[in-house]
Symmetry: C2
Subunit: 219 residues, 2 copies
């Protein structure tokens, strides 16, 4: 059975990620305890963990609140994620089964459909799944864990500061296909890493350019 601390952690993280507890939301320990009939200790411990992971800020003698990210944080996370995912994708190359590649291709097809249906939510979701399937095969647990949290970070920030670049989605799907071709052909690690990194940097640049054109600062 999962410990209460785990339950509290999952509950809080879930609500932070799905937006129930938005940026800046105060997390009052006593209140949480009364609401869920769980004493303060598990809450305190899970808040410490969330603090270490960067989801929550704790100020001594004041309390905990959901972290807020300034707008530039999205760009910075993308920039970092490009490098991490470039590496992970290259490392995964040797580990990917044919079934994995088939899964990825299927997701990419579905993305094209989502695009035709004007379903951006589904597109975003599939995009994350597409990359997750690939990088989860990288033989480096620590790297995978980092990638998971950075992707979650990205999702969270996207909800607060909506980012978008019209037209980018089409290119993105094409780049996915090209990336899969490289993986299937067992291209050398450097080529794959560069392609995967550049794929993400292209998105970053498209969004940045779009934001600038609209006069919205991003950095």
């Amino acid at each position: 059975m999962a410990t209460r601390t785990d339950v509290c952690y999952e509950l809080l993280k879930g609500r932070i990620l799905d937006g129930t507890y938005g940026p800046g939301h105060r997390l009052v320990i006593d209140q949480l305890g009364r609401e869920h009939n769980i004493s303060t200790i598990p809450w305190r411990e899970s808040l410490r963990r969330l603090e270490a992971e960067g989801w929550v800020e704790i100020i001594p003698n004041v309390g905990a609140r959901v972290a807020t990210f300034d707008e530039g944080e999205w760009a910075r996370t993308m920039r970092l994620l490009a490098r991490l995912e470039g590496l992970a994708t290259a490392l995964a190359s040797d580990e990917l089964t044919e079934a994995d590649l088939a899964d990825a291709r299927r997701m990419n097809r579905e993305m094209r459909e989502a695009l035709a249906d004007f379903d951006p939510m589904r597109f975003t979701q599939l995009n994350r799944q597409f990359h997750t399937v690939i990088f989860h095969r990288a033989p480096d647990k620590h790297l995978i864990a980092l990638l998971d949290t950075e992707w979650a970070r990205l999702d969270f920030i996207r909800r607060s500061a909506f980012t978008h670049a019209p037209g980018r989605a089409v290119e993105s799907v094409a780049e996915h296909e090209a990336l899969l071709d490289l993986l299937e052909a067992h291209a050398d690690a450097d080529t794959i890493e560069t392609a995967a990194r550049q794929h993400k940097l292209n998105t970053l640049e498209a969004v940045t350019r779009h934001a600038e054109a609209r006069g919205t600062a991003l950095a």
Copy 2:
């Protein structure tokens, strides 16, 4: 005043990093409490934080112990650090003052001296300082925090599984000089990133090769 939780955290982390609590060392909460006259809760909270940062493993109903890393972890961390530091170095380029560069050059000179004096401890220490001075100027707090923990990880693992590559130190100093030249000349970001990344990968390769030659598995 720092909270007790902070005190416990610093104490534990310090002892883990300096080797007092080696890999696998059991951290019994009650015992810690009795030894330092601090009740269990601050210990529990700091252990949660250390767990999230990867320094400690907590098994429900069994207890906490200092994490152990298999030998391949050093190589994996270097591989990751190469990418992170490549990025951070490139980002720092525009922010570095002349004083920073002068500091870095001085450290590199001292590294050459340490080399002549056969003082590997000092060399290692200076090497870390050299890179720290540079990447701490990168305009990305989160990235810097990641780099700090990964470097600490590296130090910790090095102590458990000693890694070494004779002759590499000389090249390393030369590559530092070249890197500083690029930074001083405000070379473009890609060039700097590649150089910084490759610098670390060269060390990784040298050590791997040396280990293989000695028949010691590293991966």
